[in-house]
């Protein structure tokens, strides 16, 4: 079982339908299943615990209020909640103009090497599978900036001093790889 997603995938569309009908018990069930993974995502994107808590209050509030708008054809409830959390986190990041999850990209004038580092997973996390296996580090950087940093492709191009087309192609390549690896993981 995936160490972070855990039992989150046990929440099916019927739970969301119950929530849409005002079932607080169903909502609590969803909270218990999703709060860990969404909290981890929030911390990765916003870092400050206070901001993350506000983010989750907002996201779960949206889930409660907008449950009837959930369309199972567009993905699982977990994918829906993750997309909602990312979107809200990105809006917060853009609003307060912060990028706390990645260190500022700087070039070492002396070595010419990039000082940018992607935040590494917690060493205590028992993760054994790499969803981006087979991808070079520069592609991973782009994915990390886009997914967790909420940067647009033009912002990534500017930050990494790369042509926009290069950013696009690398993002596309990474997503194709992720999709290929999806079959090996349990979401």
């Amino acid at each position: 079982m995936n160490p972070i997603l855990g039992h989150s995938d046990t929440i099916g569309p019927e739970v969301v339908r119950r929530i849409a009908g005002g079932d607080v018990a169903a909502f609590e069930q969803l909270y218990d299943a999703f709060s860990g993974v969404l909290y981890s995502l929030g911390v990765r994107m916003l870092e400050r615990k206070e901001d993350v808590e506000e983010l989750l209050v907002e996201v779960f509030g949206k889930i409660w209020k907008e449950a009837e708008r959930y369309d199972p054809r567009r993905g699982s409830p977990l994918a829906w909640a993750i997309a909602m959390t990312r979107q809200s986190a990105i809006e917060r990041i853009r609003k307060i103009n912060r990028r706390l999850h990645v260190k500022k990209v700087e070039r070492d004038e002396a070595t010419g090497e990039r000082a940018f580092t992607v935040k590494e997973p917690d060493k205590n996390a028992p993760l054994k599978q790499d969803p981006l296996k087979g991808l070079p580090e520069d592609v991973r950087e782009i994915i990390d900036l886009a997914y967790f940093g909420g940067l647009l492709q033009s912002q990534i191009a500017e930050r990494l001093a790369l042509p926009l087309t290069t950013v696009k192609s690398r993002m596309h390549r990474a997503m194709m790889q992720l999709r290929q690896n999806l079959r090996d993981f349990t979401i």
């Binding site: 972070i4 218990d32 400050r48 699982s76 194709m176 992720l178 999806l182 993981f185």
Partner: protein, 277 residues
């Protein structure tokens, strides 16, 4: 948009990388293309794999209370990011003006909504009334039809009750033999059949002696409805079968054959055969 383009844009969109005109164009495509929407969903699911790179964290228990409190007590208010904000008189004035404007807009929207709802309800009510009237008319028609059928049933019952049972056509028919009155040929046989319903009969004669040339056989009906025997006709000698009718409605009690002068008599003189019914 080609399939390859759709796939590329779906991947970038799921990652949150699209922007500007490209994003708007793709969202337009997304809204009308289920295949593209499914592609985005797949990429979003795939991108969730990135969460596996994160350390597993547990939110503080107080967060659940906050979330549930907001859900149970009031609509959840989306909180702004942590930011200090000082209220100035100008902001207060703008705030009040905005609140008044929002109030007016809400009132107008509410009124419009209520008006539309009223109109819709009135139309529905009118439609239902027409429907009810139609059903009521139908019910009345059905009741009338049922009453008619009930009357017809009663009429048929009445007619059936008043109808006589079928008659036995043979019930009114009786046969009897006429016996000779004096010495006659031993093998002579005279049998009569009488239908009291139809007031007619048949006389079967076998080997009746030929009368003298100046004489004739004559048939008579004996009935209480007449003081004298009623003439039923002459019997010619060659006749083996004689059909006869009562000249008027009567109750036949007997038949008689007499030997009369040629041409017959108004009353029997010499009776040669008699048979009682």
């Amino acid at each position: 948009m080609s399939p390859e383009q759709s796939e590329e844009y779906a991947a970038l969109y799921a990652l949150g990388g699209l922007e500007g005109a490209e994003k708007r164009a793709f969202e337009q495509e997304l809204s009308k293309n289920a295949v593209t929407a499914a592609m985005v969903a797949e990429f979003e699911k795939a991108s969730s794999l990135l969460l596996t790179t994160l350390p597993k964290l547990t939110p503080p228990p107080s967060l659940k209370s906050r979330v549930l409190q907001g859900v149970q007590d009031k609509p959840v208010v989306v909180a702004e990011p942590t930011k200090k904000f000082e209220l100035s008189p100008t902001w207060i004035a703008w705030g009040v003006a905005a609140a008044v404007a929002i109030f007016c807009i809400v009132q107008m929207a509410s009124k419009t909504h209520l008006t539309n709802a009223n109109t819709r309800l009135a139309e529905e009510s009118k439609s239902l009334q027409v429907r009810i009237a139609g059903l009521q008319a139908e019910r009345e028609r059905m009741e009338t039809r049922m009453n008619t059928l009930e009357s017809e049933r009663k009429s048929i019952d009445s007619r059936m009750a008043s109808m006589e049972p079928p008659k036995d056509p043979l019930k009114s028919i009786q046969s009897f033999r006429l016996a000779p009155q004096g010495p006659v040929q031993p093998d002579t046989e005279v049998i009569a059949t009488w239908d009291s319903e139809r007031q007619e009969g048949v006389l079967n004669l076998a080997r009746l002696p030929i009368p003298p040339p100046d004489r004739s056989y004559q048939l008579w009906i004996i009935t209480p409805d007449s003081p004298q025997p009623v003439d039923a006709g002459l019997i010619v000698s060659e006749t083996a079968r004689l059909e006869f009718k009562a000249p008027f409605p009567l109750k036949l009690t007997a038949l008689a054959i007499s030997l009369e002068p040629k041409g017959g008599s108004p009353a029997p003189t010499t009776v040669v055969y008699v048979g009682k019914l």
